[in-house]
Structure formats: C-alpha cells, structure tokens
Symmetry: C2
Subunit: 481 residues, 2 copies
C-alpha cells in the first residue's frame, strides 16, 4: 500500500493494484459500478475480477451503459449472475437473452433510490472511476450517472483514479446529492443549466477500501453517419417543431430539448442547425451529451446543455478536453436522478425525442425487446422523458431489416411507453400528432406514417379491428400476430 503524491490522489489513501483490490469483493456480492452512456466506468478492477479464481456470481449494477471491461469480460468469465438495469454490449445482451444472466430494466430517474433501498440486494461494493480522490471525496470522470447514489449505498468503496481522463473534468460537474424520501426537498434548480452542487461526490471515509491507478481510456459508443432515413426523419421533425414553436405558448422564449441516445439521436442533434428557432434560447436538457451537441454549442445554436454523461466518440472527447474550461461555461454534468428528474423535465417543458423498436396503431411503443422477447439495451431514460416531457416525440424509421419488416405494427409485443405517455410519432414518411385523438383516429394517423409498402396490410388489420367494435378496436386474427 502506497500513498498518493500529486493532485490526483490525496496523501494517506489505501492505494493498491487492481488484482489486490479484488480481495475487497466477495462471492455473491452486489457490485455497483460507475458509468453511463458507455463512459466513466471502472476498467481495471472489473478486468481482474473476470480473472478471479473464485466463483464470484456477482450482481452487477450500473447507472447506464458501460464498456466491455465489465459487460464482456465478466460475462465471458461467467462471473456475472445478475445485471441491472441497462447494458449495451453484444456479449451481455446474448447472455441475458440466453437466460444465463438475470436482468431487469428500470426507469433511470428512480433507479438510484431503488438501489439505495436495497431493491436489488444489499449493496456491498461500489467501484467508481474518478479523476481524483481524497479520503472522503472523489471527482467523477466522464459520467456522473448514479455515482452519488451508489457511493451512498455501498458498504465498501473502490476508486479507480484514471490518469488518462483529464483532472479538469471537475469544471463540468455539478454533483447534487438528494436525501431519501420522505424528507427530500424539491431540487432547487430554476433554469436547465443552473449549478447547485459541487465537483466532488463525498462519502463516509470509513468506506474507502482501495484506490487503484489506471490509464485506460473509455471505450465509448461509435456512432454511424446519418443515413437517408435519419435525414428524412430529421427533416420531418424540423418542420413539425417549427410549426409547433409558432403556436405553443410554452415555447415562445426558450426551447429545452432532449434527444435519446444512439445514432439516430446523434443524427437529430446534428441537424439542430437546420431548425429555425427564431430568437429563442435553445438548451439541451437530456441524459447524455453526444457529439452532435458539440457542433451546436460551437455554432452558438445551443446556449447550454445538461446531461449525466459525456457519451462522446474518442474524437469528441479529445475536442472537449482540449477546451474544457470554455465548454464548462455552457455544459453541466449532473447525477442521473437530476438529469432525468420528472419534476425538472416538466418544469422546463422539455421537448423530448426518443426512439423505439416498434410502435403500434394504438400509439404504444416497444423500446426494448425485439419480437417482445429479445432484450436490446433496456428502457433507460426513455420513460422519464416520454412521460414527463411537455411534448414527447417517438422517432422511428418506418421499417427494419432493410425494409422487410414494418416498425409500425398492429400491436407491439412489449409495451415500454403507453398510449398515455408521448404525444407524437415521427417516421421518414411523416408526423402523427396524436394529441386529442381517440383510438380510431390514432390508427388512421399512425397508418399514414407507416412505410407505403405496409399501409394496405395495416389498413386491413384496422378494418377488421373496427368490425369488432369497442373503444379500442382490436383484431386477434392470427395472421397479424
């Protein structure tokens, strides 16, 4: 055990190597890891846990998506028995769908409380990536996610201080730690990029069991370039938003936007410059900060951005790090229970755009399970935004599998977002504005944005459903299942 010796690791901390730190983790432990949007997660200790001789059978809990050092390595080594509430890796996804790893996805905004209250087992160890640490504090790296809740919940704490992540990330952080109900206060934020916290997560120093030094970069998402369908969706969205801005009294002075994670979300963010916002202030209030937003900040189109993760590409991270003090004037990184907070999403009248696997003629959306059975990533923050946004928009290409499958279906095989939640569905073929429509009117509006190749089949379904009658006409003809 050595002592720290610079601005990264304070004197007197229990510095050790990753292999030794694994002693702090016992078989059957509930392990909470930092990380959100595929960045800011611990790398070295999970890799060593994957090599451990013991049968660990861990429950692994993250705030959001993490890298292969966790979701590939621990799964391949058969050390992960349970996993909550979100993952994005092919290896973990396959294990979950094979039934080898137990999994359930939860709403991000509520997940920190659920972990603190032991809903997934009594939390044993938190493994947190930081850019600096002291005896009772740490400064998170490229994501904050649920780190404050996890540090509060766990009995023991391992910090990975990553020297590859710049110390100056502290400028961007706004860590606000909430009390548990029933004594918590409203989050005291008046504007979407207000700062109310500090750079550091604090904790009871008795918990700190090990500090490990690393220099491993994040392995963040790699976004594809926008394709012709993305661009057509973005164009439909632009026209819809420009019309809405012209009539909606909540959008007269400012437009607070959120886009979901992913290539389509990133493409939509990149298209922001095409939208005529007039002289309105435009602010991003979402859960992840993706590359497309850097351009919008640099172009002066966005006056600010709030998120829980810097889910940037490697190039995007470099660009941000090079000029971080300037970016920190406009960008605020927050805990996920603040970035995704229902009250704040409502308070700021956020316009949210989130994707889905498929959407049905009643307006229900499946965002998680292909065919209703095969998990993709998890619900993430989609429910937080779809439910609480002033204007919740689902954007989805009208087809999948190269056009062979319609993403507009009679009934979705799994419901993540109900007909009561979001207001609008956008495809490359148009905009279905569902506000004020009854179920039969919704069916017509949604068929109109399906791919033309599938409209006749959907109309046949709808006609048969109408024959059966009822407030929500449905057909149970097996050909549509």
């Amino acid at each position: 055990m050595t002592n720290g010796r610079d601005d990264r690791i304070a004197d007197g901390l229990p510095v050790t190597d990753a292999a030794t730190a694994t002693d702090i983790v016992d078989p059957g432990d509930v392990v909470l890891v930092s990380g959100f949007g595929g960045v800011g997660y611990p790398k070295r200790v999970p890799e060593e846990l994957a090599q451990d001789d013991r049968d660990l059978s861990l429950t692994v809990i993250s705030g959001g998506g993490v890298g292969g050092e966790i979701d590939d390595a621990l799964v391949e080594a058969d050390q992960m028995a349970r996993r909550f509430p979100f993952q994005t890796r092919a290896v973990s996804r396959a294990a979950i769908n094979a039934g080898d790893v137990a999994f359930h996805d939860r709403h991000i905004s509520r997940f920190g409380d659920e972990v603190r209250l032991g809903d997934f087992g009594d939390p044993d160890v938190a493994i947190i990536e930081a850019v600096a640490a002291g005896k009772d504090w740490l400064i998170p790296s490229t994501s904050i996610g649920h780190t404050p809740s996890f540090v509060a919940a766990a009995d023991r704490l391992i910090i990975e201080v990553n020297r590859q992540q710049p110390r100056v990330l502290e400028h961007i952080h706004d860590v606000y730690q909430r009390d548990l109900p029933p004594n918590r206060e409203p989050i005291p934020i008046e504007g979407p990029v207000d700062r109310i916290g500090s750079a550091a997560v604090t904790f009871d120093g008795e918990k700190l069991a090990a500090v490990v030094e690393t220099e491993h970069p994040d392995d963040p998402y790699d976004f594809r370039e926008p394709n012709v369908v993305d661009t057509a969706i973005a164009d439909n969205l632009r026209r819809f938003l420009e019309a809405e801005i012209g009539r909606n009294p909540t959008l007269q002075d400012a437009v607070n936007l959120q886009f979901g994670v992913g290539s389509l979300g990133n493409a939509l963010m990149g298209e922001l410059s095409e939208i005529n916002f007039g002289d309105r202030e435009v602010v991003y209030f979402g859960e992840v900060f993706q590359d497309g937003l850097l351009d919008a900040i640099d172009d002066g189109l966005l006056s600010g951005a709030s998120a829980a993760s810097l889910a940037l590409s490697v190039e995007g991270q470099e660009r941000l790090f090079e000029d971080i003090e300037r970016y920190a004037e406009d960008i605020v990184l927050r805990p996920a229970d603040v970035s995704n907070n229902p009250a704040l999403i409502d308070q700021f009248g956020v316009v949210g755009v989130n994707s889905a696997v498929d959407v049905d003629l009643y307006g229900n959306a499946n965002a998680t399970h292909i065919g209703g059975t095969r998990m993709v990533n998890g619900i993430g923050g989609g429910g937080d935004f779809n439910r609480n946004c002033r204007l919740g928009i689902i954007s989805v290409p009208s087809t999948a599998s190269g056009g062979d499958i319609s993403r507009i279906v009679p009934t979705v095989p799994h419901v993540d977002h109900t007909e009561h939640d979001h207001s609008v569905i956008v495809t490359e073929h148009g905009v279905a504005d569902l506000r004020g429509l009854c179920p039969t009117e919704r069916m017509d509006a949604i068929i109109d944005v399906a791919h033309p190749d599938f409209r006749a089949d959907l109309r046949t379904y709808s006609d048969r459903a109408l024959e059966g009658g009822g407030h929500v006409p449905m057909s149970t003809d097996s050909e549509f299942r």
Copy 2:
C-alpha cells in the same frame, strides 16, 4: 339579470337562469366542467344543454368523474361528440364503446397543462360549480380537480353557485395555481398536508359570462360493503406493509399512503386501523378522499389527508359538513396537478395501492379496458402513483365473473402500467414482491398469487414460453390469447 345579495354571490355578477346561460355555449364548443371523484360538478347548465334545440356536438372535458347530469344527459341527448379524459357512468361508457363518443384517457397529473395548451381543441367555455363567487374569484365546492387550469384555459366562464353545498367548504381548500412551463417553479410544499394556497380560484373577470344558482346535491359514488375477497386482500396487504415498515428506511418516521378510487380502495382505507404502524405518523396523500378515511381521521389513526376531491357517499358528506372546521385542520383539498404531482409523490415516498382489470405474468397491468377493447373509466391517476410512488402496489382480486375468469393472465390485452412502474402485486392469495426480479422470476412470483384453479394453466403457458427462450420468454400459442 339580477345582482347577488348574500355571502354566496357578490354584487354585480351576471346572475341568470340555467336555460338562459346555455346561450353562452355554441355548437362545436370545447366545454370544460368542474368535477372529480363524482362530486363538485355543475348540474343545471349541463341539464339544460341536454335539452337544447341546437345540434351542439360538444367536446366535454372534466378533471375526473362527474355525475349523470353530464355523462348521462348529454350523451342521451346526443349532444356530446367528444369526451376526455375520465368518466364513470354506464351511459357514457356504452356510447364510448359503441364508437358514438370519441374518447381518450390521459394521466391526471399532466391533464391540466394539456388542456391549457389546447391539446383537445381551443377551450371555449368552463362551467364550474362553486359555493360562492365574486367578479374575479370563485370558491370550488366538493372537488377542486382541474378547476384552476380549466378556469385559466377557457375563454368564457359560467359559475353554478350551489346553495346545497356548504359555504364552509372554503376552510378545506388549498388552491395553488401553477404557471405554465418553462417558467414554473417547484411546488413549495414540504410536508404532505402543508397549505400553500388560498380558498379561491381567481380569474380574469372579463371571462365571467353567467352565474347560475342551484340547489342540486352531488350524485356521488355508492360504495359496496367489503366482501370476503376485499378483506383477504386487505389482510395480505397489512402483513406486507408491516414487514416493509420494519425494514424500509423511508418508512421509519412517517408513512404517506395513497389508495385508488373504488370499492376495493375504500375497503382498504377502512382496514387501515388493522395495520400496526407503531408510533409512525400516517398521512394520506392521494387523489380522492373516500368514506374509509373519515373513520381513520376520527380514530386518530391518520394525522392528515391531501386529495383533489371529497368523493364521499351522501352520509360521508353529511358527516364531514357537520364538523368541517375540525376536519379542515387535518384535510387539505388541492388541485389535481398538485395532489397527483410526480415530484410530490416521489418527495413524500408515497406507498400507493391501485387496482387493475388484469395483470400479466410479466408484471404489466391493464387498468382500463376489459378484453383490451371495452373502456371502463379511464387511467385516471393510477399512472401518476404507480410510476412515482416509492412503493407502487397493484391490488387485484385473482378472479372476475364469479371465479370464471382469471385476472392473472399470460399477457394483458392492454397495458396501462408497465413492468417498469409498480413494484408489488397483491391478491387474496398472496403478495408478489417483484423488486429485483428478472422476467422468469416474476412469472413464478405472479403465478403464486393467482387463483389456485388457474395456476396449472398459467404454469403451462410459462413452460411453453420458457421453451422459446429470450429475456422475456413469451408463447404465442393461440389457446392463451
């Protein structure tokens, strides 16, 4: 037109009779009516509108359930073309299910904003029942519901001053009116029965088009006596809550409870006295105040209650009115966007108990549509509480139709509350605590609370589903549809 002359109607108001007041309503109008929980709705003007010679084709919008003077009379007279977002009458239900009245149900907490922003058409006239009115204020009667939002949204205002409702109802009201996003502030309530508003709803006096005097009583819900199944559910709930109180740190000092509307909810409220809360403060933070709560207040079991409606029986109303100043020390009546506010439900760590039509093996709940097609009442506030409660509980009898049909089904035909929302399902056969369980574990837990007569069939479904594999195993065998 006469002037007012007592403490009910201020001088100089445009007092008229109900038949004359109908001139203020034009064909095709969007009409907003007060009323929530079946009480506090206007009676005389809707009855006259039903008799109108014109073809009115009205859009009728309430905050919650209203009486037959609206949902029977206007439907029977074929004067109602559209209806949002909740109704409880056999006549309106039949018309909605026949497709004669367009309808869609929305989350109560968000509905006031949606109406103000014109999601259901530009609001023309609000018809509001009051116990007293002035040139720019009114005091609501037995419900507040969405009255503040409706009065703010409508171009013209008709007030029915109901002399049968006691003026002293003002003691119980706490009207807090929110600004629209993006400039609204967090609701400044620290405790569940704090008062932050006033007795009156204020408005732009230019809107006030007519004041009509009435003496018609509410026609409130009539609750049946608890049956053996209700009692068994209440007993399972009691044992679960007592165990939870012993371990959950958010329930150590106070327990903030909500129960859904209905006979089962009322029965559960009545069983409160059976629960051993130790020395904890017990407060009701819900959307309607039902008869069962009066006993709990009188017995000193409840230290307070917050709701948007006094949905009491006639006997319950009499009991409350006789001693209203004393009850007003403990009971607060609020707008529905405060009573059902997601941030407050979260802040107070509410334990919510709501019902469903059926629940599936994955944990999804259908609360609105029998067979997926036939509307019952609407989603109401169930989604507000199930999603935002610290502990969301669905209570449901295991069977319907005298035991012929299982309410625990392989897949619900309509999803109102997803597997991500509530945490617990209670039937008369037990408690399925779903926290931390993966889908296959959930299936086992839910089968265990089904009626014994149906468990073998459900197990057969679950076995076939497991053969198909995937994270959420499903069987599409037609026999289970």
